[in-house]
């Protein structure tokens, strides 16, 4: 029996480094979180699987023409996949609550403060400006935005940033309530807001995504892809004339792209690159970004509440962080616990939708300020 054949067979097990073993454990953890804990399974399960397939010894899936490499090149390297997902998100998002309550729009802006605060912290820790901006964008609390921005500014950090972004989004119901309770009094949480049903005409609903794209796109060209695709999906939805496209964008296309995106992002998480102190720092900074966002939203909510003489419940500010639509639901639950009859969902949804737009705008602003391209 030829020695060459035996060498070929021993090739596999011998290629198993300790880094690979750690990464396989990380992959197992991600899959566990997705399957047993329901943490954003639509993305964490594919990411975990991609991480596993990429860290098996000598994986042909990372070689030239390997499946994971092909998927990465065809949709992550050129940022196509997050934009396609944005079309689907736009097609599923109802901006009605925002259109009916335009005054909550600024809450969305406040909820992005964590991005910049984290950027400063990351700079202080010694990250380069581009890396710091990529870490900060976890504070957008919006998966595709994080992938898009960090993919352009610091592709080498794409894996940990994406994992942090999606894991923390899954933790919204855990992270937000204590912060809200700490920063607001029970009296504030009990403030009721009237539900002024102002019917929004179809014309306004259709013009809104177009106007947003043109205004934001003109002032911040770097935001065009993010705002443009989100608003394209919403335009298709609200127009009502292309339901076939809307439906496909929001389901089949979104599903395929989500699977491919998860696998490709997972495949960036290979040994030497992932197992660094920087990854740990990213995970810690990410959760800080989350907390700062929530707090900033709340404090701005308190300011608005003061200015409006108590007709605005400050806790809807916490929904301004984006994480659409979970944040709004968490806010409603907290309000519900303070006062069983308090129904804030609609207003929180408005702030939440504003946060979604603000996140995307902040992503573009960040790219512009870092001089990306």
């Amino acid at each position: 029996m030829s020695a060459e054949l035996l060498t070929r067979l021993a090739h596999g097990p011998l290629g198993l480094s300790w880094q690979a073993l750690v990464m396989l454990a990380v992959a197992g953890l991600l899959i566990y979180l997705a399957v047993a804990r329901d943490y954003e399974p639509l993305l964490l399960l594919p990411i975990g699987a991609g991480c596993m397939l990429a860290n098996l010894p000598h994986s042909p899936m990372l070689a030239e023409d390997g499946m994971l490499r092909v998927l990465y090149d065809s949709g992550v390297a050129n940022e196509l996949f997050p934009l396609l997902i944005f079309i689907g998100i736009g097609a599923l998002t109802d901006f009605g609550p925002l259109l009916e309550n335009p005054r909550v729009v600024l809450l969305g802006a406040a909820g992005q403060f964590g991005i910049f605060a984290t950027l400063l912290l990351a700079l202080a820790l010694g990250f380069t400006p581009n890396e710091a901006a990529s870490i900060g964008i976890i504070g957008a609390i919006d998966g595709p935005t994080s992938i898009y921005v960090s993919g352009i500014l610091a592709p080498q950090l794409l894996g940990p940033i994406t994992v942090a972004a999606y894991s923390y989004m899954a933790l919204v119901p855990v992270i937000m309530p204590p912060i809200i309770l700490a920063l607001t009094s029970a009296r504030e949480r009990r403030i009721r807001m009237p539900y002024s049903q102002r019917p929004i005409s179809r014309r306004i609903r259709v013009l809104f995504p177009i106007a947003t794209t043109v205004i934001v796109g003109t002032l911040v060209p770097f935001a065009i892809p993010l705002v443009g695709t989100l608003m394209l999906g919403n335009l298709m939805r609200e127009s009502g004339v292309v339901e076939r496209l809307t439906k496909t964008s929001a389901s089949e296309l979104a599903n395929v792209v989500t699977l491919f995106l998860g696998l490709a992002v997972g495949s960036t998480m290979v040994g030497e690159q992932f197992l660094r102190l920087s990854t740990l720092a990213i995970l810690v900074l990410g959760i800080l970004a989350f907390g700062i966002d929530t707090a900033a939203g709340l404090l701005f909510g308190k300011l608005l509440s003061l200015l409006s003489r108590g007709t605005i419940n400050p806790i809807i500010g916490a929904a301004g962080i984006s994480a659409f639509p979970m944040a709004a639901r968490v806010v409603q639950r907290v309000a519900h616990e303070a006062d069983f009859e308090n129904f804030l969902l609609f207003h929180a949804m408005g702030a939440n939708a504003a946060g979604q737009i603000a996140s995307v705008v902040a992503g573009g602003v960040l790219l512009a300020l870092m001089g990306a391209g």
């Binding site: 102002r198 809104f208 934001v216 504003a354």
Partner: protein
């Protein structure tokens, strides 16, 4: 240090821009709300004016029956329209296009977050 100063500039400009852009959006929305005509009361249902059944005795249709027939006819026309010409139609069978927004978005259900039941 230089990095941190640049970072503070980015923070100030960035938050300023985000607030500015969203404020512009707010202005736009407020303007749109102002320009939009006040909601008109819903138009009376378009009952075909010819559909007047007058007759005597027990055979006469009650107003309720008449309303039910009218509603059925209108729905039938709408559903025929939706089924017309599959090659060209933009909505697919099972469309939520004609469902109420409230139902379509499942909003009544959104208060409780989704939790899969543990085996």
């Amino acid at each position: 240090m230089d990095n941190l100063i640049a970072g503070l500039q980015v923070t100030a400009l960035g938050m300023g821009l985000v607030f500015g852009l969203l404020a512009a959006l707010w202005g736009l929305l407020a303007l749109a709300g102002r320009l939009e005509p006040p909601p008109t009361p819903p138009a009376a249902p378009r009952v075909p004016p010819a559909l007047r059944v007058t007759g005597g005795g027990a055979d006469e249709l009650t107003p309720e029956t008449l309303a039910a027939i009218t509603a059925a006819v209108l729905i039938h026309i709408a559903s025929r329209r939706r089924q017309a010409a599959p090659e060209m139609r933009s909505s697919w069978p099972g469309s939520l296009l004609f469902a109420s927004r409230w139902v379509a978005a499942g909003r009544t259900r959104q208060t409780r977050p989704y939790r899969r039941e543990r085996g």
